[in-house]
């Protein structure tokens, strides 16, 4: 008998361990649910970790109001299927209450505004740990993120003063008013995520699979036609066969021309691809360190 685990089972075991550690060490944790594949994966891993008990954390969705209809439909079905609790934080509310001001212009986005809404929700519900689906391979500022990432009372990340994380020992101790972000799938890559979803046969939102969509071209990206994105007069809407590699706010998520229509097609495509998945994310292109800057302010 050879006692070996493949890489997906090893990653699964690590993530389940982290999720159970969160339930054991914190009073009031929550899962930050964006509707993207990474937060879907985290939610399924949480179901695995605690079955037959219900997931001991609510799902928190920070809603920019600029969503794909498919995301909302999938979210609501998933919540019902897993009998989970859903809390929605609305960026529109934050705008209406004057907490933040809407950006203007063609590239206006609500990505940065999400941070305020998120920090308000954390304070309102007194969450002491927010579980996110961020992965270290996504972006260079995330490569140094801890599994248990400490945030001060202003929700800020101090990358130069992070707690060392050794072996499988995770230190979740903190002072009043502080909180943690926890990233159970830190060690997964995009390919690992898809391989695992295929191995487990998990149903995914239709946006990830190729479909016909009305899109237009801007800054090396195909963007979905949407009332939330003002178009320049020179920009032309065309119908293309596309899929999305990441799913975020509709204003900043670029589509990929692709005919991948099954999980196995996607695995083939990701294995052969030559551009990083965040290559299509306008929010990262603002400057070389835009992710690091947003994270310091309290972004996911």
């Amino acid at each position: 008998m050879s006692y070996t685990l493949n890489h997906l089972k090893t990653l699964e075991s690590e993530s389940v361990f982290i999720l159970r550690e969160v339930a054991a060490q914190f009073q009031n944790p929550a899962i930050l649910f964006s509707g993207g594949k990474d937060s879907i994966l985290v939610t399924y891993l949480a179901k695995k970790a605690f079955y037959p008990a219900a997931i001991p954390f609510p799902l928190v969705h920070i809603d920019t109001g600029h969503n794909f209809a498919e995301t909302m439909e999938y979210r609501d079905k998933l919540v019902e299927k897993l009998d989970a609790k859903l809390i929605v934080g609305s960026v529109q509310d934050s705008i209406d209450h004057g907490r933040v001001a809407e950006e203007k212009g063609y590239n206006a986005s609500r990505i940065r505004l999400q941070t305020t809404t998120l920090l308000d929700i954390i304070e309102k519900y007194k969450f002491d740990a927010c579980i996110g689906g961020a992965r270290r391979d996504e972006e260079k500022a995330r490569a140094k993120e801890r599994f248990f990432s400490h945030r001060d009372e202003f929700g800020q990340w101090d990358p130069k003063n992070q707690r060392p994380e050794l072996w499988n020992l995770f230190n979740g101790r903190m002072n009043q008013g502080e909180n943690f972000r926890v990233f159970p799938i830190s060690n997964w890559t995009e390919l690992d995520v898809w391989q695992y979803l295929a191995m487990e046969g998990i149903e995914m939102p239709s946006l990830y699979f190729s479909h016909k969509r009305r899109v237009f071209y801007r800054d090396n990206n195909w963007l979905a036609e949407s009332p939330n994105i003002p178009m320049r007069t020179t920009e032309v809407v065309e119908e293309k066969v596309v899929r999305f590699r990441t799913i975020g706010d509709i204003t900043s998520t670029g589509a990929t021309l692709s005919s991948a229509s099954t999980l196995n097609d996607i695995i083939q495509e990701v294995a052969a691809t030559r551009v990083t998945e965040r290559g299509g994310r306008a929010d990262d292109k603002r400057s070389e360190t835009s992710m690091e800057d947003r994270k310091k302010e309290g972004y996911f």
Partner: protein, 439 residues
């Protein structure tokens, strides 16, 4: 600006159509690298990522543009591994950065750490979970203080395999004698290390010799390339499958009619194997019972082994909570309040004799008081400093401490999970010490 030559004879790494299920047999290997600015560590990692087709076009274009801006002659592959703003500005690595790549055979996690003595704590962190350490030697300099330091840390942290890469062979005309001399010197030094499995590879990270592709310039070398070693080295036996240690992490008690009497002990197996029907002992209470079921997500398992996360159900209803450990009656860990350990200190504030700290061991939290500092280790020479030893930031030494409750532990050399613990400053909640239990 010289663009890097695209490797053509290794196209299959990424281009080959993935066999739909081949990835189900891939293993995971974690390795650590330590190094400082000049020894080519970042270049080596960049080269591994680049030649194994793990670098994407947009990443490559970004570092190419930055290299041009700096006026570099080559596309600087080292830029791929420099994450934070401060590091890019100063051209140094100040924290552990994690990198990922895979080939059809294995998935790799690199813990990339700085190599200077003032970053010992980062090296220790990166080494704590690694299966293998890459030690870089500059062929022009041979075995130096830094080589010894990195090797000693790898050995102390119980990394089972070491790959010694003798780098910059292009700068010594790919000379076999230079290589042999360094191998001899290292072997002489390595007799003092605990690590037994040591491999030597002559490489040029800058030019790609023996990293992914065999070198045309060193026909005299009959060994394998670095990537081949990483892909094939036997790691399945690194895990202890003999001594059952199951630290209880969380008790699952569903609030539903269907599972009214369900009581599952959730945890990750630290070592050993567990099967339904096994007789087990609960520590520290000493109660015994039989395993009724081992499962995950409602699916029953015939057996489970380290490092699987599972849920264990027992025949008897006994009081068990987080921090307890399930073991076998005839194979018990040490249970003691008096612990001897090696510590690596990670805080500006030195270790206090008679100081009290919070202690985290497996899933158990206790408090501890430091009784004595036996010695401080000179990590360049393994020399023991016993005269008035004090342990400050980045120091490693041997201490004895007493805990408020007994720990169920093993020697670190036998079990990296049950043989390790951390110390936490109770005022700041920061992790200040990384400790390994001594035989």
């Amino acid at each position: 600006m010289i663009d890097l030559e695209l490797v053509t004879d290794n196209e299959q790494v990424k281009e080959e159509k993935f066999d739909a299920n081949s990835y189900l047999n891939m293993e995971l290997l974690r390795f650590t690298t330590a190094g400082s600015v000049d020894d080519g560590k970042s270049t080596l990692i960049g080269r591994l990522l680049y030649d194994s087709k793990s670098i994407f076009e947009d990443q490559y274009e970004a570092i190419k543009a930055t290299s041009e801006k700096h006026g570099d002659q080559y596309v600087n592959l080292a830029l791929l591994t420099d994450g934070l703003k401060a590091e890019r500005e100063q051209g140094i690595t100040i924290d552990v950065a994690y990198r990922y790549f895979s080939t059809p055979k294995r998935k790799f996690i690199i813990a990339d750490t700085p190599g200077h003595i003032q970053y010992t704590r980062n090296m220790v962190t990166g080494a704590s979970t690694a299966n293998l350490a890459i030690i870089l030697i500059d062929a022009r300099k041979g075995v130096i203080e830094q080589t010894r330091r990195h090797s000693i840390i790898a050995s102390l942290l119980g990394i089972p395999h070491i790959a010694v890469c003798i780098n910059k062979m292009d700068m010594v005309d790919y000379n076999q004698e230079v290589f042999e001399k360094i191998v001899d010197d290292y072997r002489t030094f390595a007799t003092r290390l605990k690590t037994k499995d040591i491999h030597f590879i002559p490489v040029s990270a800058l030019l790609g010799d023996n990293i992914v592709n065999r070198s045309e310039n060193m026909k005299w070398y009959e060994g394998v390339t670095l990537l081949y070693l990483l892909e094939t080295i036997h790691i399945a036996s690194d895990i202890n499958h003999i001594d059952l240690r199951f630290p209880v992490q969380y008790v699952i008690r569903p609030f539903s009619d269907k599972f009214h009497d369900y009581r599952g002990y959730a945890g990750r197996i630290a070592s050993g194997v567990i099967r339904p029907g096994d007789k087990i002992t609960v520590l520290p209470s000493g109660f015994t019972s039989k395993v009724k079921k081992v499962e995950l997500d409602g699916k029953a398992l015939e057996e489970a082994f380290a490092p699987m996360s599972v849920t264990v159900l027992l025949e008897d209803d006994i009081d068990i909570s987080r921090g307890d450990m399930l073991v076998r009656e005839n194979n018990l860990p040490r249970q003691s309040q008096d612990i001897e350990a090696m510590v690596c200190w990670m805080s500006d504030k030195p270790l206090q004799i008679n100081g009290k700290y919070a202690l985290k061991h497996t899933t158990k939290d206790v408090r501890a008081v430091i009784k004595e500092i036996k010695y401080k280790l000179d990590i360049n020479s393994l020399h023991r400093i016993t005269e008035n030893p004090s342990i400050g930031m980045n120091d490693i030494g041997r201490i004895s401490l007493r805990t408020t409750k007994p720990l169920c532990c093993d020697a670190y050399t036998k079990n990296r999970d049950t043989g390790s613990f951390i110390l936490i400053d109770e005022a700041t909640n920061v992790t200040v010490g990384a400790c390994m239990v001594i035989d």
